[in-house]
């Protein structure tokens, strides 16, 4: 594995780090295993944050997701009972976490997913689960942007 020590130290990798790792691994099989490992090492949500409000529907498995703001940046936490989904959560965190609400809303997620080969390799059920999470993050980002403006 080529994950550099500083990446390993931070639970959430950046999109650039993720892209670099994907390029190094080269094939989907290994990339998928890598995502699963990263997903498994993500911090878990506190039990009180796993409730009907934070639940993201539309996934085959259970997913909970919270979005807070610290220093003008999004603080996203999410967890699923399925390791596969946790791997996808790792991608979402790399894409959206620690962004300002404006930047998060400006991200072209389609481009991110296709550059990582996700659109090609994910089943439609999983893609719709993924887009449910993206919608939740975007909705929260839009809400926070409005609050910031007030």
């Amino acid at each position: 594995m080529s994950a550099s020590p500083d990446t390993a130290a931070s639970p959430v990798m950046t999109l650039d780090e993720l892209r670099e790792e994907f390029e190094f691994l080269g094939n989907w099989e290994d990339q998928c295993e890598f995502l699963i490992d990263v997903g498994m090492d993500l911090p878990k949500l506190p039990a009180e944050d796993k409730n009907e409000q934070t639940r993201v529907h539309g996934c085959q498995s259970l997913v909970w997701l919270t979005v807070d703001e610290a220093d003008g940046r999004l603080k996203i936490s999410a967890e699923s009972d399925a390791m596969i989904v946790n791997g996808l959560i790792a991608v979402l965190l790399a894409t959206f976490d620690r962004q300002t609400p404006e930047d998060a809303l400006a991200v072209d997620v389609e481009e991110v997913f296709s550059s990582l080969g996700l659109d090609e390799h994910l089943s439609s059920a999983r893609k719709s689960g993924l887009s449910g999470m993206v919608q939740r993050i975007r909705g929260e980002a839009a809400r926070l942007r409005v609050e910031d403006a007030e």
């Binding site: 699963i36 498994m40 085959q60 498995s61 259970l62 699923s80 009972d81 399925a82 390791m83 596969i84 989904v85």
Partner: protein
Amino acid sequence: MNHDATLTTSQASGGRQPSESNSRTPHAPGADAPGSPTPPPPTPLDVDAIRAQFPILCKPLPNGKTLTYLDSGATAQKPTVVLDAMRDCFETYYSNVHRGKSTLGRLVTKAVEASREDCRRFLNAADVSEILFTAGTTAGLNLVAQTWGRANICEGDVIATTVLEHHANLVPWQMLAKETGAELRFLPLTDDGRVDMDRVDEALTDRCKLLAITACSNVLGTLPDVKALCDAARAVGAVSVVDAAQFVPHRRTDVRAWGCDFLVFGAHKLYGPTGVGVLYGKRELLDAMPPWQGGGNMISRVFADRSEWAEPPAKFEAGTPPIGEIVGLGAAVRWVEDLGWEALEAHDRELAAYLLERLEEVPGLTVYGPAANERAALASFTVDGAAAEDLNFLLDKRGIAVRHGHHCTMPLHDLLGVPATTRASLGVYNRAADVDELIEALLAARIRLRLA
């Protein structure tokens, strides 16, 4: 029981005499009083020879892995005889059926009607006119609901069924109940997912007009006592509809021994093609009930403003049927009969026992449903700490095909208290070695998921 000894060395299973394996038991109508001849000792299936007849089992998957197919409950693979029969139809005598008197028309009509006779014999129905070709199990159940149901179910009537049912044997009855003001009632189950035969009268009241029951649960493998249930339905004046979609590949079906009024199955879980199935209906009922879809073939005379119906089965077969698929269905039925039911059922029982025994070795694994001797060779389970989705993913990577989810039985999963299960469902081509693969993969999955 030492399943290891009998199954892992299945070809050598001692004590059973090889008997003539190619004897299709002829079921001349009325000529087979139940229980007259003593059945011959079971013929062990030559599973290796069977596997060799399934092209898909003999080649590697696109990812290079060998396929371990444990998803026959979703759909079964197809043997060469079925593929060849369909190909032969399309290549040598294909044309439209029952239309005109051409050479090809005669040949194709003969082939389709031969398949109907194969299905009659397969179900032990009294007459070929009781065998209707449909688009599949779902279509057959909807046909009964929309024709017999609409003509006979009234406000306040009870439609009895169970929470074991596949959505295909539940939703059409819900729709009918809504339309007519009838009430759906569910036969109570025992804790292990069998129909509680001591409490059938809770749903089979004298208001009950129809009982819709599966002959084999696609999730639990449960094999309800269909005969007793049909008897109980008849005793209160209710018509019985049996969903045999999962049952037909596992056990011999006999509509006259059961005394059911309607029975449905599809070809694709019986090693035949998709897009075709059979609805069996007692002739008196078929005569009395209105047709479903209107169109060609189902009429005897059409006037500009009205029509007169053809006799069954044509009355319920509007339009051009799936011709090649009907031919494939006949081939599948003959192929299964030629394996011999005694051997096939014995194989199924051994696999069920071995599957359940070995699943017990996986820590944290729960199998839902009855004991092995009360079920067909399939099992749905959960593993503590492992999402069904992840198990499916990890098994799939090894070339093991199972199914995960609610398997079109959401009410049953509500009862089980789990959103999803993983199901391994076995067929004639499965061996103890396939179960071994599954167990090894489940143990490895637990390690990957950091549960072990």
